[in-house]
Symmetry: C2
Subunit: 321 residues, 2 copies
C-alpha cells in the first residue's frame, strides 16, 4: 500500500453562490462537504485507480469526526467488492480539524478560497504521531507521500524528520509542500519533491524551471517533478529529464490537479513504470482533474482518452550523477 501523510487535514466545504460581492450578504445555494487536505486527495485518486492506501496525519474535534465519517463512507463506496481502498490511520488530537471554504461564483465560475489555520498540535500529539508513523513505515509500504502545510505547533522541520524516518525504513518518499517546510525537508534528501513553478522558484531563487530543478537537486532532492500549470510538468531525475504536456489548452478548475499528479507519480512508482510513463500518467491525471466538473476529482473518461495523447519529450541529456 501507499501511505499518505496529511498533517493539516481539512473538511473542505464548497459553497455555490450566484455572484460573490465583497461586503454583501449571500445566500449559499448549495453546500458540499468532503474530506480534504492534499494527502487525502491523493488517496482518493489512488483509490479511483484501484490502488490501496493508508492515510495518516491529525484529526480532531467535531470537524474531525465529520471528516472521518465522510472518509469512511467514501472508502466504502469506492472499494470493489466492499474492500475499502483507503484506510484511516489518522491520529486523534484535542484540537478541532480545520475547515476550508471554497466559494464558487456561479456568474464568473471563479472560486474564492478561505483556509482555516488548523488545530494547535501539542508536543505530545506530535510524538504520538511520530510513533504511529514509524510503525506504519514498518508495514507493507511501497511509498510515502508527505503532503501540504503544517498545522500550528508542529515543528517547522517536521518534514525533514519524516523524510529521514522513511529513508531509514527504505521507503521511497515524496514531499509536496512549500516555503520553509519544503526548504527544511529538502535537506533530508527526499526521493521526489513536487513543487509548482512558484514554489520551486521560492526555494531556489531561480525562475527558469529546469535550472531551478537542478538547483533543488543540488539541495537534496533526488528527483524534481515540477508542475508548470498549463505548460504541463517537468521531471528531472538522476536518470534523465523530461517534460510533458497535454496537446490542447485546458480550461476548468485546477483545484486538486497537483494532488492528482502526485497520485500519478506514486502509482507509476508502485507499478515500477519507467520515468516517462509515470510523468505521462501524472500529466493526464492532472488534466482530467482540471476538466472534472467536481473540484478535486478527476474525470475517468478524460483520463483514459488523454493518456495516449500526452507528449513526453526529453528535456536534455541526463545530468552527471
Amino acid at each position: 500500500m501507499i501511505l499518505t501523510v496529511t498533517l493539516n487535514a481539512a473538511l473542505d466545504l464548497t459553497y455555490r453562490v450566484p455572484h460573490l460581492v465583497p461586503h454583501a450578504s449571500h445566500r449559499v445555494r448549495e453546500v458540499t462537504e468532503r474530506p480534504g487536505g492534499k494527502g487525502l486527495n491523493v488517496a482518493r485518486v489512488l483509490a479511483a485507480l484501484g490502488l490501496p492506501s493508508t492515510v495518516t496525519g491529525f484529526a480532531g474535534g467535531e470537524t474531525g469526526r465529520v471528516l472521518r465519517a465522510l472518509l469512511a463512507a467514501d472508502a466504502e463506496a469506492a472499494g470493489p467488492d466492499g474492500r475499502a481502498l483507503v484506510t484511516d490511520a489518522l491520529v486523534t488530537v484535542a484540537g478541532n480539524t480545520r475547515r476550508t471554504v471554497g466559494v464558487v461564483d456561479e456568474t464568473t465560475g471563479d472560486t474564492t478560497q478561505l483556509n482555516e489555520p488548523g488545530p494547535h498540535i501539542t508536543p505530545d500529539e506530535w510524538e504520538t504521531f511520530l510513533a504511529a508513523y514509524r510503525e506504519l513505515l514498518d508495514g507493507q509500504v511501497r511509498a510515502v507521500a508527505l503532503c501540504g502545510s503544517l498545522p500550528p505547533g508542529v515543528p517547522v522541520g517536521a518534514y525533514a524528520t519524516l523524510v529521514r524516518e522513511a529513508r531509514t525504513a527504505r521507503v521511497p518518499v515524496l514531499l509536496d509542500t512549500s516555503g520553509e517546510p519544503l526548504r527544511r525537508g529538502l535537506a533530508a534528501r527526499p526521493d521526489i519533491i513536487k513543487p509548482n513553478a512558484e514554489e520551486l522558484a521560492g526555494i531556489t531563487g531561480t525562475a527558469e524551471p529546469l535550472r531551478a530543478a537542478r538547483a533543488a537537486q543540488r539541495r537534496g532532492a533526488h528527483t524534481v517533478a515540477a508542475s508548470l500549470g498549463a505548460d504541463g510538468m517537468l521531471l528531472v531525475t538522476p536518470d534523465g529529464a523530461w517534460s510533458a504536456a497535454v496537446p490542447e489548452r485546458l480550461t476548468g478548475n485546477p483545484t486538486g490537479a497537483g494532488d492528482s499528479a502526485v497520485a500519478g507519480l506514486l502509482s507509476g512508482l508502485a507499478e515500477g513504470l519507467p520515468w516517462p510513463d509515470r510523468l505521462a500518467r501524472a500529466v493526464a491525471l492532472s488534466a482530467a482533474t482540471v476538466r472534472s466538473p467536481v473540484a478535486g476529482e478527476f474525470d475517468e473518461e478524460t483520463y483514459t482518452g488523454m493518456l495516449p495523447a500526452v507528449r513526453v519529450r526529453p528535456s536534455e541529456a541526463p545530468s552527471a550523477p
Copy 2:
C-alpha cells in the same frame, strides 16, 4: 421567562482575513464560532440584562451539537451564581444545522456574509416542534419572540401558526422576519413586528416609514417597531407613535443590532415599562451593539452611557383605535 424561537438556528463562524479578494486564496488568521440565529442572539442579550429566557427551534447534526455545546458554555458563563439564564429547548432534527460565515476584511473593516440554507425539516419534525412550542407556551412565558428565516421544509405560513398559538395562550408575541413569512405572519395579528425600513417597504409597498407602519397595522400588527438604521427606530403602537435615535452618528458593525433592539423591547415589556422607555432601551442596546468590537454583542458601558442620551419624540397624535 421569555421564549425565543429560532427555526433556522446557525453556527456563526467569523473569519478574519487580511484582505478579501474574489478568486484569490486566503489564509484565515482567526476563527471564532458562536451560537447564531436571531432568537439565540436575542436570548444572549436578555441574559446580559439579567433576564432568563428559553430558546427553541431546531438543531441537528454535528453542527447542531457544536451549537448546543457553545450555548451551554455561554449560559454557564453568563448566569449569576451558577444559574443559567438561557435554557436550551431546541428540538433535535436529523438534518445538519447550518453554518454562516462572516468574512471580516481587516483592511476595509467590511464583513462579507455567506449563509447556508439550513437543514430540511420533515413534516414530522415540524409537528414535534409545534407540540413542544405549545407546551412551552403553557409555562411561565412573559413573551415570545419569533425570529428569522425559515429552513427548507417548514411551511411558509409557519409564523402565522405560531402567532395564533401564542395568542390562544395569551402570550404577547413579537415577530421579526421578512418577506412572505412576515406577510403571512402579519395576518395572524402579532402584538409586535420589528421590520427594518426595507422589510417594511417590502410588505406594504410604502417607503415612508410612518405611513408604512400604519399600513402594516391595518394588515394585522398591533405595534410596529421599525429599525431605521442610523435614523434610530420608529415605534407605532395603538397608544401613540414615537421615534428615537442616539444623539451621535455611530460607526461600527451593525450585525445583531436588530436582535438587540428586540431584546430591548421584550425586556421593557417584561418589566411593564411605558412604550417610550421600551423604545429608548431598544435604541440604546442597538447602538451599543453597533459600537461593540465583537459582532452581535453589546458594549455594556456604551449601553448605560447611551440610555439617558436617547431622544424619544412623539411622532404624531395617537392613531384612531
